[in-house]
Symmetry: C2
Subunit: 370 residues, 2 copies
């Protein structure tokens, strides 16, 4: 397999755009990634598009807006991990010598929630009030299991949301950009006990894109410090008594990249609900489960701490339109590894891990390195 | 790249099954392919699933019924070519050494058309009466363009349908299994002039699966004569003044396999509407466009002729539930190359080409060889 580099990234600001077709988000993200790479649409040789329930052949609709260049366009759908899956497939297109420059694009259109004009905080609050949807119910049960097993105060979960909203406040592409205190989070409506509204990711629309290429192409363009994809791992669901998907996929990824949890400078992961961060700290081998709450309390996983998690705000603050979410993780990690993350920059970041899970039994873990 | 072999195929009889969840079709097709290969579900290391608009993560729903073995499951959607895309991706998983045994599964659920109890000929007729849908309108215009350019009598298009319905009458898995005369086809309702109902593919449900593996695995199992995948080509849409997708993809495929149109013993292609066969005869390099009608009139492309097309009935008779269609082509070609196609068997078939197009600008061409 050939080495693969990320040479361009782009995204739109996630949010609710009821009057904007999803293809526009994909086009905007793609143009932004092309500009970042210093390429034209004609230079792209292969495209994978990740999206969920937006309609037939979404990638082709995005490509059609950019020009009929005859390239293969493959649409993939793996629930929350659709964008990560598109990234992995584009990575294989380069690694396996199918082409030299490929793009992964993700688009999302969750529809207007609530009945109003769309997008205001008040309307989102109103929509949240319609009651628990199945995902939040599952994660609320997982939160209770965690509390029973490790004695964790649910305020620690809320503190994860405080941290991620703070990170999002530093990210101009985040859906939410507000700083919330612990009191704010705990005062927000309980969606499914013990999880409050501000501990749950919002629904929204958006696009994100990442261009991958051979190291030779990256060197020729020479625009940015090289960002290499050193691992792409995928685990499906197993029986209850076997290791969780994140354990399996991250072990595989560490082996591929030749690194361990101690080598990570940052992690982006699936924090659709705050409880998840604690679970994954342990499953990624960052700490023992009983130590997870200390990482939050001591600020180890906040920007400025030992190993910051969800430095762009995560699903909770940056948003989660399904299709583009995994590619927003690639965007953030790439900017960090280049040293271009502005007020969110982690000093001297060399190695980042990206984890995404999807309903139905999907877990992808990638490692990017400078 | 490693060589890739098809080691197991399975499908359900396509049709309208309003009370059956789509996952059951996928499970049935997968079990059938496993039995054909002499494998257990536990032996499968990677899965791609092709489907259109059936809901989120359809492949994972099929896999969940078969057992939580932890394998990667990736869902792909490329309109009519979704099953062909799943096949191509599974092929890459073997060719690029990601694993040794992979499965491509396609599922389709087109919904009940008409309002009745579903599935009867009368109800389908009634549903057809709701008027032309966009695809048939497009292909009717293409038929008129063809007639104007080459002076072809539209009865030749109808004769394609007669041929494919005859082929389907020999296939126990075809949705339709009736022999229709030219008079029958011409007496069926005009859907969009000059295309009659019996020249259009039906809507329906179903599943199909193909297991691919290394030649070493195929040799170890030793159940069937080896069927090799010698080409996988993909062309996207280009501007009007450039060659059609099928020209580009088939040229690439011929080059990969080291064969030409004269080496083909059979072709399965996207005959959603009868006119398409004539267009693709020419685009695949079988003949010049002005000669295409002679192939139909002389029976060259019927079973028993020089180069039979759509030997299982094609989309028109075998059916076209989108997700599984491309994999039904793999099923038919594999049986033919093994010499297991029963009354449809082409004597000494060594090389088959499979073409599938998809809305949005997708064309895949595969070549399978004994």
């Amino acid at each position: 397999m050939r080495e693969v580099a990320v040479i361009g990234v782009g995204m739109t600001r996630f949010g609710q755009y009821p009057d904007q077709p999803y293809a526009e988000h994909g086009v905007e993200a793609t143009r932004s990634a092309l500009e970042d790479a210093g390429l034209e649409w004609n230079d792209i040789q292969y495209m994978y598009c990740g999206a969920v329930n937006v309609g037939m052949t979404p990638g082709n609709r995005v490509a059609a807006e950019l020009g009929a260049t005859g390239i293969p366009v493959v649409n993939v759908e793996n629930a929350s991990a659709s964008g990560s899956t598109a990234f992995r497939e584009a990575y294989f297109a380069i690694a396996d010598e199918r082409c030299d420059i490929a793009i992964a694009v993700g688009v999302g259109k969750m529809g207007r929630i609530g009945g109003g004009g769309g997008g205001s905080r008040a309307e989102q609050l109103a929509a949240r009030a319609t009651g628990p949807a199945p995902p939040v119910a599952t994660f609320a049960m997982r939160a209770h299991r965690w509390m029973a097993k490790y004695g964790t105060d649910p305020k620690v979960f809320a503190q994860v949301a405080v941290k991620n909203h703070y990170h999002g406040s530093l990210n101009p592409y985040a859906q939410f950009q507000d700083v919330f205190t612990l009191e704010d989070v705990l005062a927000s409506r309980v969606i499914a006990d013990p999880l409050h509204m501000l501990e749950c990711c919002p629904t929204g629309d958006g696009g994100a894109a990442a261009i991958v290429a051979t190291p030779a192409v990256a060197a020729r363009l020479g625009r940015h410090p090289a960002v290499r994809v050193t691992a792409s791992a995928f685990a499906g669901i197993r029986h209850e008594d076997e290791p969780p998907m994140t354990v399996t996929a991250s072990r595989d990824a560490y082996e591929q990249a030749g690194v361990g949890p101690d080598d990570l400078d940052m992690v982006q992961l699936h924090d659709a609900f705050s409880i998840e961060e604690l679970e994954y700290y342990a499953e990624l081998g960052i700490c023992e489960p009983e130590e997870a709450e200390r990482l939050v309390i001591d600020g180890d996983t906040a920007l400025g701490g030992r190993i910051p998690f969800n430095t762009d705000g995560g699903l909770i603050s940056r948003g989660h339109p399904l299709g583009p979410t995994g590619l927003a993780q690639v965007w953030e990690t790439t900017l960090q590894l280049r040293g271009d993350a502005g007020p969110r920059q982690i000093e001297g970041a060399n190695t980042g891990l990206l984890q995404m899970i999807g309903a139905g039994g999907v877990c992808l873990v990638h490692i990017l390195q400078r």
